[in-house]
Every structure is written in C-alpha cells, then in structure tokens.
C-alpha cells in the first residue's frame, strides 16, 4: 500500500500528486482495532460505583467554549463528509460546501485561540513532562484535563493547523466569489500541499473516531454532558479530579 501517489507534470517530470486514499481504509480499520482493544481492556477492569450526577454542581465548560466546540465539530464533520464521501464513490457537488465549512473552521479556530490566550485556558490544556509522569502514575488525579484529554487536544490541534494551512493554499487554487484561480503554484508544490491536506485529513479521521468513542464511553459520558450542559456534579469532580489542582465555580 502506497502512502503517496505520483504523476508526470507537464514537463514529463515525476512529481508528488497527493496522498494515497487507500490509506483511508487502513486508518479506519486501525482506529476500530484500537477501540475494540480498549473496550476489551476496560471491560476487564473492576470499577467502583459510578459517581452520582445528582447534588451540587460545578461549572466545567462556559457557554462560549461549548459553542466553539460544537461549531468546530460540525464544521469538521461537514469537511470530512464533503471531502471523503466523493472519494469513496458517493458523488455530489461538494466543493462549495467544503470550502464554506473550511472558512467556518478557520474562523472558529482563530477565535478559540484568541479567547484561550486572553482567558488563561491555554495553560490548562498544554501538555508537559508532568503529564507523562501523571499518566504513568495511576493514583494521581488530574486537574481540569487529564493527560489523555490534553494529548487528544494537542494531536487534533496539530492536525487541524495542517489541514487549515494546506486548505488555505488549495483554496487559492480554485475560483471563488472573491478571486479567480491563478494556477500559479508549481505542480510539485501543489502535490505537496495536496499530500499534507490528505495525510492530516486521514489523521483527523483516526483521531476523531477515538474522540467520539471516548465521548460515548459510559464512565466518560459526564464529560460529554458537560460539553452540552456545562456542568459536572461535585461527586463526579471528587471521583475524577484533584480539587487542589482544579477548583471550579459552583453552578446551578
């Protein structure tokens, strides 16, 4: 199975054309194997009682952060559907929807970065050496985000930056309401841009499969609820987080 595809350019020189989409099936199979292995491992673990969702509540995600998350999720979903479905044979006029969703994602990511910089949230998500130690030590409870959540965020961030950066360069190569394409990029460079866009898309497919799986796991569902409603209970806080490292505001 190839990673990339090549073509002859207009001068007869072999240049990169883009990613090999055969990898899509490999990524999907690998993601589902990883999910199955994790599910089996978790099923074999003995767990105590699930913390109660009743009682007093604390705030985990503000309304703006939740809105960012879901708009981002919706735009990535649309981008993946419009980008990948035609490749697997479900044909429709996808390009316009794709770049509109791409603009939404770019704007929302830029806004999210700016808000994180000014709200101080960036620190609570950054991955450091302490997170490795924490991940290996089963007794340490995390602050607001676990090492696994931080790692997932970091990987999605890198892949999203790659897909947006390459997407903007590809956007310049098509006609839009604001400009006409120029066909000015060298074919080899264009192939590299397509390759980066494709490989980061494949990465996102795999990571998002895992992200959705973890969001739906029974013991993690309260995090998903908090991304919808904004709160977790004090019981859930005590069972999963170190109150010394994260002291959220109470909420109703």
């Amino acid at each position: 199975m190839d990673i990339a595809t090549y073509k002859d350019d207009v001068w007869g020189q072999e240049v990169l054309r883009g990613v090999s989409w055969d990898l899509l099936w490999l990524v999907i199979v690998a993601a589902f194997v990883a999910i199955a292995l994790h599910a089996i491992y978790e099923a074999m673990q003995k767990r105590g009682d699930k913390p109660s969702a009743d009682g007093e509540r604390v705030s985990r995600h503000g309304a703006l952060n939740r809105a960012y998350h879901w708009v981002m999720a919706a735009s990535i979903f649309v981008l993946l559907v419009t980008g990948i479905f035609p490749i697997v044979g479900l044909e429709f006029a996808w390009l316009e929807i794709h770049w509109i969703a791409g603009i939404v994602l770019t704007v929302i990511v830029a806004a999210h970065i700016l808000m994180s910089l000014f709200s101080g949230e960036l620190g609570s998500m950054s991955v450091g050496p302490g997170d490795v130690k924490e991940a290996l030590d089963g007794n340490t409870k995390p602050g607001k985000y676990s090492p696994a959540q931080k790692s997932m965020h970091a990987v999605i961030t890198v892949l999203t930056f790659l897909v947006i950066g390459s997407g903007i360069l590809m956007f310049l190569q098509i006609d839009t309401p604001w400009w006409d394409r120029t066909n000015s990029m060298a074919e080899g460079m264009l192939g590299l841009v397509f390759f980066i866009h494709g490989i980061s898309t494949l990465g996102l497919v795999g990571v998002i499969c895992l992200h959705v799986y973890f969001a739906l796991r029974p013991e993690k569902l309260f995090y998903t609820r908090s991304m919808i409603k904004g709160w977790i209970s004090k019981d859930e806080l005590a069972a999963n987080h170190d109150p010394q490292r994260w002291t959220p505001d109470e909420t109703t």
């Binding site: 207009v10 006029a93 192939g191």
Partner: protein, 329 residues
C-alpha cells in the same frame, strides 16, 4: 506524446446478447471499455492516453439497434447509427430537432458508423486532457486549460468547477431539449435517467461526463410524445461546416399556442461540461410570440451567469445570437 496510429494490444469481446455484454461489463468494471462506433475510442487507444484491459463491442447486439414506438413516444437503441436516425421517417416527422442535431455531427462517414450511445457518452475534447496530461479530469490536481497562458478558446463559459472542459455531443442538447430519458442496464437491473441528469458536471464527478457507473451500459434513449411535432430550432456554430465540434450550439423545443409560446426548452451546447439549459430564457419567452422584438428582449439573457476564460469571450455573443435567431421564427 507519441501517437502510434495503430491499436494497442487489447482484448476484444463481441457479444451478441445483451446479457453477455452486461456480464462482461460487470466483470471488467473500470478496466472495460464499451465500444460503439469507435469514433471517440480509437483516438484514445491509439494515443495510448487510455489503456483499457478489454473492449466490449456492442454493435453485434441486435437489441441495441433500431427505433421503435412506445406508449409515450419512441425508443432508440443506443447502438443505432446516427445515419439511421437521420433517415428514420418517424423521427423526421415528430422529432426533427434530433435529426438536425444528428445531421450536424462530424462528417457523413462518421455518422455512418457513429452511434447515438457513443455520441452521448463520448469524452470531452479538451486537448490538455486528451493529450494524456494528468489533469483534474484524469484524476490529478490541476487544470491546464485554465491558466494565464492556457489555450481555452473551446472551453466552458459556465458551470465549470476546477475542470473547464465542455460536453462535445451535438445530440445531447437535442435530447435534453426533448426531455428524453436514458435507459441504463447492468447485471443488477435497469434504471432510467432523465437526459438532464445523465450528463454530470465536474462539481459532481470531475472524471466522468455521464452518470453511467462502471458495469452499466446505455441501452436506449426514450423520447416522450410530449414534444412530438412541436416547434424546433437547432443551430451549431463551429469553425468548419463538417467534421468539427460545436463552439456553441442551441437546441430549442417550443410548444406553441397559435403564435404564443407556452412551454419551451432552450439548451446550449459547447458552453458547459453538460448541455446547458437557459431556464431564464425559457421563463422569459412564455407568452411571447416569435418575433424580432421578442428576440431582442430575451437574447441578452442567454449569457447571464457566464464566466468566460481568457480566449472564449466570443462564446457569449454567440449564445445570445443563437437565442436571437431561434426567436425570430
């Protein structure tokens, strides 16, 4: 690119039963090549720009030949030659639009062997693509015909999406105007496709001209009685009078109530990757009569929404003038 002027080694199947052809098409999938009159095929193969594993010659299948009446119009077998269509009495009487369009295809020699199915399914004439360059239409990531120095005199002025190639079929415009239905068969069964949906643009499928899937064979074209004997107009503008593709063409079907136009279908060829319906013109002509005054009123609408490339601005007044001439009556 070398042109070998001889056929490459390729397996040739010559089934005489449609079921055998369908099984072969199913078995070969993308590696099979359906052969009608061969007028588009042989160039591709001799240039080595397309290299199918096998060809399925459909000409020996009796069921794909001939013109027959149906409960609602006529049915033309996909392997019926253009000459047979041109000479058919019923088609001449009721659907002279198709006769005129078929009569302007290429040359008498080509019309003698060229089939209706082949004319409808033929690939685009964009020379960058036909030269074998790895463009969008060939599965690549660039259009060589739409750049600052590209030669794009014959290319699209509307409906382009990355690829700017145009549909070369003369009969396609007539059949869209006549609201024909394409019949496609595969081992899974039969499906019918409105002519308008049969041709696909690059926004939907950039590597195909039609909605035919691998393993499917276009078996027939059905033309409804709705437009039989109506007022028709066809004109094709090309660099040469024979053996040339349309720069712009127009096929018009109009239902007249006395001097007044009712329903109408105005379809332009050579301007988009699919036959391009002028729906704004169709709306505007309703209730009007065929006259110089009406012609002047609606002609400018023909080029609305167009976006010409470097070398094909001339197609815009051509579109307008063809509508003008159709409306003069």
């Amino acid at each position: 690119m070398a042109s070998f002027d001889v056929m490459p080694d390729v397996q040739l199947y010559q089934p005489v039963e449609l079921d055998d052809a369908l099984n072969l098409a199913d078995e070969l999938g993308d590696e099979g090549w359906l052969l009608g009159g061969g007028q588009d095929t042989y160039g591709w193969l001799k240039d080595r720009a397309k290299q199918p594993r096998a060809m399925i010659d459909l000409n020996g299948i009796e069921a794909l030949h001939g013109i027959s009446e149906t409960n609602d119009g006529i049915e033309i077998g996909a392997a019926t030659t253009l000459r047979e269509i041109i000479r058919d009495e019923r088609v001449n009487r009721d659907y002279s639009l198709l006769v005129e369009a078929a009569g302007r295809v290429a040359s008498p020699q080509i019309r003698n062997v060229g089939t209706l199915g082949g004319n409808l399914s033929q690939d685009t004439r964009c020379w960058y693509y036909r030269r074998g360059l790895d463009c969008y239409r060939a599965g690549g990531n660039i259009c060589y015909a739409n750049g600052p120095e590209s030669m794009n005199r014959e290319h699209a002025v509307i409906g382009a999406s990355r690829c700017v190639a145009v549909s070369p079929s003369d009969t396609a415009t007539a059949l869209v105007a006549l609201e024909a239905t394409m019949v496609a068969r595969s081992v899974k069964g039969e499906r019918t496709i409105a002519a308008e949906d049969f041709f696909v643009g690059p926004d939907t499928h950039i590597t195909q001209m039609t909605s035919l899937k691998a393993g499917e064979i276009l078996t027939a074209v059905r033309i409804p009685a709705k437009w039989a004997g109506k007022k028709f107009y066809f004109e094709k503008v090309a660099d040469r009078d024979v053996w040339d593709f349309a720069l712009v063409s127009i096929a018009v079907a109009m239902s007249m109530d006395g001097d007044t136009i009712g329903d109408s279908r105005f379809v332009c060829g050579g301007v988009a990757c699919t036959p391009h319906r002028l729906t704004n013109v169709e709306r505007a002509v309703r209730g009007k009569s065929l006259s110089e005054e009406s012609a002047e009123a609606v002609a400018p609408m023909a080029s609305e929404g167009t976006k010409p490339l470097n070398y094909n601005h001339f197609k815009l007044p051509l579109m307008e003038n063809l509508v003008r001439r159709a409306m003069r009556g």
